[in-house]
């Protein structure tokens, strides 16, 4: 492999990886933003008081939702 090919390869990878890194960053921000929205804006936190409730996914209720 000569130097020219090497440089192309590195540039190529860098360009592509920059785009994917950007995707990762956007997805991360979106995801954390969505969690924040769910918890702090919509207050949709279900509370479980017993193991049975947990196992059947039937919450006691939500603190702020209802």
């Amino acid at each position: 492999m000569n130097d020219g090919e090497k440089i192309n390869l590195v540039d190529h990878t860098d360009q592509g990886s920059n785009i994917i890194t950007m995707f990762f960053l956007i997805a991360l921000i979106f995801s954390i933003g969505a969690v924040h929205y769910r918890v702090y804006v919509k207050h949709t936190i279900n509370f479980f008081l017993t193991e049975e409730e947990i196992n059947h996914a039937q919450p006691l209720g939500s603190l702020y939702g209802n």
């Binding site: 991360l28 995801s31 954390i32 924040h36 936190i45 479980f48 603190l63």
Partner: protein, 555 residues
């Protein structure tokens, strides 16, 4: 029962700065979370700011930043009494955790090949991560908040198992890739580096994952704390790589890491312990450590820079030396070739001039023509002598001069030479006398070459002395004979004495009065030394004459 009432009944303590609280079960282990957090950030920071252009340093910095966010999130979960904070940070931790694995894959690619994974590999990682990004914020991620027995923990949804599955997959990816790269590496040191790196990274991820997976599956989150000690283990592997193999292209890392570790240690005691006296003592210690640490790092850096400069200079010097040797060899070769080529025609000219001289005498040619031919003959002799000197020197320097081993009387030889030169001295109005012991001195050596030395010395003395006496003294010592030629000539300046036997060097007085090549004395000393003898010069200064002494071993 109302949820608010249950929360009040649980009576959890509040938290300050999200992470300091009475809710913590085991404060020692809990606060020890701070140490890997600080140390990992310091290591990554030092590496990154030490060499920002080096790809592994960048990727490592990102990985550690993600890991630090994870630790911080985990600390909040232990301390906070707020269900919102628990739910929020639990989700964040669940998103960040597999991202640490993604960063670890990037890191191993960067470390082994100094490039990022291929776009296909990166794309695959992104696709694997996509469900996490999309579904973690939903009830598939966190189902709710568990109030059973006043536990402060989230009830995890189905996504958490997906997260663990891809973490295992990525850990296997790293191991497989690491061992493949190790297999591919040609150099044994490179193989060791890659193995050490892969094992260190795998151990870190394993302890990290194992704690969480076991904690999650067994619903015992105290086990989760084991995971945090993975990073110091990895830091240990990294330190070995850094110090032993100079990985990561960062200078003076060992001194920096030592100092920064101490800062972190003292700093964590300073911020965690809040006991009056101890607090002020650690505060002062931290201050002193910062000052001395900076001084130590600077001095080590300075030393390393100097060492690097020296290495560069040494390499340059070695290269120059090799070049000089090559040049010297080719010069000697050329000299030998050229003088050979010169000597043959000069010898022909000499014989030709001899024949012309004889013919001129026979034909009674005019005096002017004869003088001219005589002059030509003398010049030719001088030229032949210079060429012979050059040839001898090139032979000596190439180690090609072989001395004869013959027995001869040194005294007799010296006396004969003195006799031969008496006429020349008389012509110049000089007195040439020989003094000392009249004892035969038998030695074994090359008579022709030694004769050349003595002729050269006596000839020089006569040549450079305008009036007065040239004294040749011959004395006998234990197993040695000493022959000295002293004159009343122009003398030699003290600063010239040391260089007089060097090639092409002639004294200022000599240069002013006589023509010469500056090779005679150099050659004479070489020949004497080849006979295991010694040659020296003494002069009290300009205008005070000079004395050359030759000491030779005799039987």
């Amino acid at each position: 029962m109302e949820i608010n009432q249950i929360l009040q009944a649980c009576d959890w303590a509040g938290s300050s700065f999200l992470i300091f609280s009475q809710n913590v079960f085991s404060p020692l282990i809990y606060y020890s979370h701070l140490l890997p957090l600080v140390v990992s950030l310091i290591i990554a920071g030092v590496l990154y700011f030490g060499n920002r252009k080096y790809l592994p340093n960048k990727v490592f910095f990102v990985m550690v930043a993600l890991f630090s966010v994870w630790i911080f999130g985990d600390l909040v979960l232990w301390a906070t009494p707020s269900p919102e904070q628990t739910t929020f940070f639990w989700s964040v931790v669940n998103i960040i955790e597999p991202l640490v694995y993604v960063a670890a894959i990037y890191f191993i690619y960067a470390f082994t090949r100094e490039r990022l994974p291929s776009q296909w590999a990166q794309g695959l990682l992104f696709v694997l991560m996509l469900p996490i990004f999309i579904l973690t914020p939903t009830h598939y991620g966190i189902l709710g908040f568990n109030l059973t027995n006043c536990d402060r923990e989230a009830v995890e949804g189905i996504m958490v198992y997906y997260g663990y599955a891809i973490e295992v997959l990525m850990a296997l990816w790293i191991l497989g890739y690491g061992f493949w790269e190790r297999h591919r590496a040609k150099d044994i040191i490179e193989k060791r580096k890659i193995l050490l790196f892969t094992v260190g990274l795998a151990l870190f991820l394993l302890s990290f994952a194992l704690g969480n997976v076991l904690g999650s599956l067994l619903s015992d989150w105290t086990i989760g704390q084991i995971g945090l000690f993975g990073l110091p283990v990895f830091a240990l592997f990294l330190s070995v790589l850094l110090v032993r193999y100079q990985a990561f292209h960062t200078k003076s890392f060992s001194a920096q890491i030592l100092v920064l570790m101490l800062w972190a240690l003292i700093g964590s005691i300073f911020f965690v312990q809040n006991l009056g006296l101890i607090h002020s003592i650690t505060g002062i210690t931290l201050g002193v450590m910062i000052i001395f640490g900076v001084l130590l790092i600077r001095s080590v850096q300075h030393e390393i820079e100097q060492r690097e400069t020296l290495t560069v200079l040494k390499d340059k010097l070695e290269a120059a030396n090799v070049q000089l040797k090559v040049l010297d060899a080719s010069k000697n070769e050329f000299l030998s070739f050229a003088t050979h080529q010169l000597r043959s025609p000069l010898t022909s000219i000499k014989w030709g001039l001899g024949a012309v001289g004889d013919t001129l005498i026979d034909r009674h040619a005019d005096a002017e023509t004869r003088t001219m031919v005589d002059h030509l003959a003398v010049t030719t002799d001088d030229l032949i002598s210079t060429v012979n000197d050059l040839l001898d020197i090139s032979k000596i320097e190439q180690g090609g001069l072989v001395l004869k081993n013959e027995e001869f009387d040194l005294y007799d030889m010296t006396a004969r030479i003195v006799e031969e030169f008496k006429i020349t001295a008389q012509k110049k109005g000089l007195k040439l006398v020989m003094t000392g012991d009249v004892v035969p001195q038998i030695m074994v050596g090359d008579a022709t070459k030694l004769r050349q030395v003595f002729v050269n010395l006596i000839d020089n003395a006569i040549k450079y002395t305008k009036e007065g006496t040239v004294t040749v003294s011959f004395t006998q010592e234990a197993h040695r004979a000493r022959m000295a030629v002293a004159d009343t000539g122009p003398g030699i300046a003290p600063e010239e004495l040391d260089q007089l036997f060097d090639k092409f060097i002639r004294g200022a007085a000599g240069k002013a009065s006589q023509a010469g090549s500056g090779l005679g004395l150099y050659l004479a000393r070489k020949i004497v030394e080849m006979h295991k003898g010694h040659m020296s010069v003494a002069s009290e200064g300009l205008g005070k004459g000079s004395a050359f002494t030759v000491v030779l071993p005799v039987a």
